[in-house]
Amino acid sequence: MYRSLFPRDMFAEMDRLQREMQQAFDLSPTIRGFGRNGFPALNIGGTPQTVEIYAFAPGVDPSSLEVNLERGLLTIAGKRENALAQDDEKAAIHINERFEGTFRRVLTLPDDADPDAVTAKYRDGVLHISVQRRASSQPRRIAVQ
């Protein structure tokens, strides 16, 4: 959805694309697929204590946003209203690239994600979800007697 026009260096861009392709094939795809290029775009990362998810969903009514975590499956759903529909009849739409309508994206969280310790903040159009990892699964050193 967000692509950069006119890359400055064609060779570096091809190189980067090739590395990205290789990465894509290294992953074993989940049964729910890759789900790329959906709305909202997602960035997922983690620290040793948490799993962090950033959903880029500007202009969504927070009351329509739904975040559900069930059995390791995180669902982000909501609705984005179309601002264009309110304009008068004689208006001409020149460009219409922004997503409009209901959306739903689903992702699987790792086994150590704790569904009781989830926070979600919506700021500047980014939904930031933070899931704590279960304490018992933190790496522990085992003493050898």
Partner: protein
Amino acid sequence: MNTNTSPRVAERAQLARKEDSARYSDAALTPPVDVIEDSGGITLYADLPGVSRDKLGLHVASDTLTIEAESALSVPEGLESSHTEVGLARFRRVFTLSKELDTAAISAELKQGVLKLRIPKAQHAQPRRIEIQAS
């Protein structure tokens, strides 16, 4: 299948990443926009997630409108990315404006990452009905 474990290869990969970031320091994402024109002017909506007012730049040259913005996310320390769909923190998009738009009267509003611009048409360019007098 060979695995990249040798220190030589790891060093090269790190160097490539540094070179990449220098080369891509000007790279920016193209935000999706909606543009509607009515009789009074043009309304533009742009998706700029993660952008707050102080990180948004709007520049108007004689006939060019440039939207530039930087997004900021609250990132905990030690975060390692596993899946990245938005790989850059910068947005840029340039538009050519036609002559009848009144660039001095542009109004802008940024709410929850959505930029709304209103560019009215110059007074002389507004549609006007011309009276025909019977002679």
